[in-house]
Symmetry: C2
Subunit: 200 residues, 2 copies
């Protein structure tokens, strides 16, 4: 998880925080543990982060930034439905390749967005990629604020992708005897059903 800040200690703290979560779980994240691993004084992290929630917010902010970049760098298509399909594949690929980042965004007790505006901004930016895509597909004059029906369609599409990503990684699909081929076809089927359902 490379970070882009020019402050080397801050960057190292965020990366080390991610490693703590990866190895020991988010409940073991503390500024003291991060400092210990970096070999700096246990006061050093406070230069950049006021609390454990602040460093967790910085980790989650990076996850959303990486996720948004991954979605934006999909193979893009001229046909809007093909392009939505590509975005869906990019979404599922991120969930499969980066399960911890994925879980941190969508399945973790998050710090309060109001207290961590930079994390919130990255989360909103990631979601806006889907919003904007749907706006260009369904509205003649895309713009802000996002109309409610587009927002609710975005939640629908996000739910379907999130549900599929989660189920594909769960034990229950194996328990039910779904093969790899079933799973691959199910992905294509879901994408097609989504396209049919939002077509004008």
């Amino acid at each position: 998880m490379p970070t882009k800040t020019k402050q080397p200690l801050k960057r190292a703290l965020v990366e080390q925080a991610f490693s703590v979560i990866e190895e020991r779980g988010v409940e073991h994240l503390s500024l003291r543990e991060v400092a210990r691993r970096l070999g700096v004084s246990h006061q050093a992290p406070y230069k950049h982060f006021r609390s454990r929630d602040h460093i967790l917010a910085a980790v989650v902010e990076r996850c959303f930034a990486d996720f948004a970049q991954h979605l934006s760098s999909r193979h893009s298509c001229d046909d809007p439905y093909d392009d939505l399909h590509q975005m869906g594949l990019a979404y599922l690929e991120f969930a499969r390749r980066y399960p911890l980042q994925y879980r941190l965004m969508f399945n973790t007790a998050l710090p309060d967005g109001a207290a961590h505006p930079e994390m919130l901004a990255q989360a909103q930016f990631a979601f806006s990629i889907l919003y904007d895509k749907l706006c260009t597909m369904t509205l003649k004059d895309p713009g802000h604020p996002i109309p409610d029906p587009v927002k609710h369609d975005a939640i629908y599409i996000w739910s379907a992708l999130h549900g599929l990503a989660s189920l594909m990684q769960s034990d229950v699909t194996s328990t039910l005897g779904l093969s790899s081929e079933d799973k691959a076809v199910a992905v294509a089927r879901l994408m097609r059903r989504m396209s049919i359902s939002i077509a004008p």
Copy 2:
């Protein structure tokens, strides 16, 4: 989580196992801990369960049985799309009211289905409620084996419901500022989009 077996010790063991999971997490489930809580000898559980996985399978089996019963006892409608809508609402209600049971079925390392055929049968039965519903909606001559397209549509609908149920309980929807009203409308929207997408 009432169980239906006529064997009182077995029933008490399964209920106590559920309590251990509820209070301490599935990773702390052991036959020894269950016996200790019931005040029986630590050999007593082995009369009914050969291992920790066997008692976990019995707990999960009850979850699937309760879930299937909940889906089946929905308010049923003559119109098949209205009925699918009711099934979706029943699904989401179960996830909201019984988050631990829900998580045990769909978000836990499950015992191997082949080694625990009774758990597997209950899981398959729960899934068959959705299969059968889709068969009656989309096929002229419903029957077994289930045709692949119906199976893949079932995965699509399940994914959308599972994703919505998970996101509604996650912090990220609050982080993004979705209100209760947004969530309620999103549920209705998702149901409508699903119906549109699978209509013949």
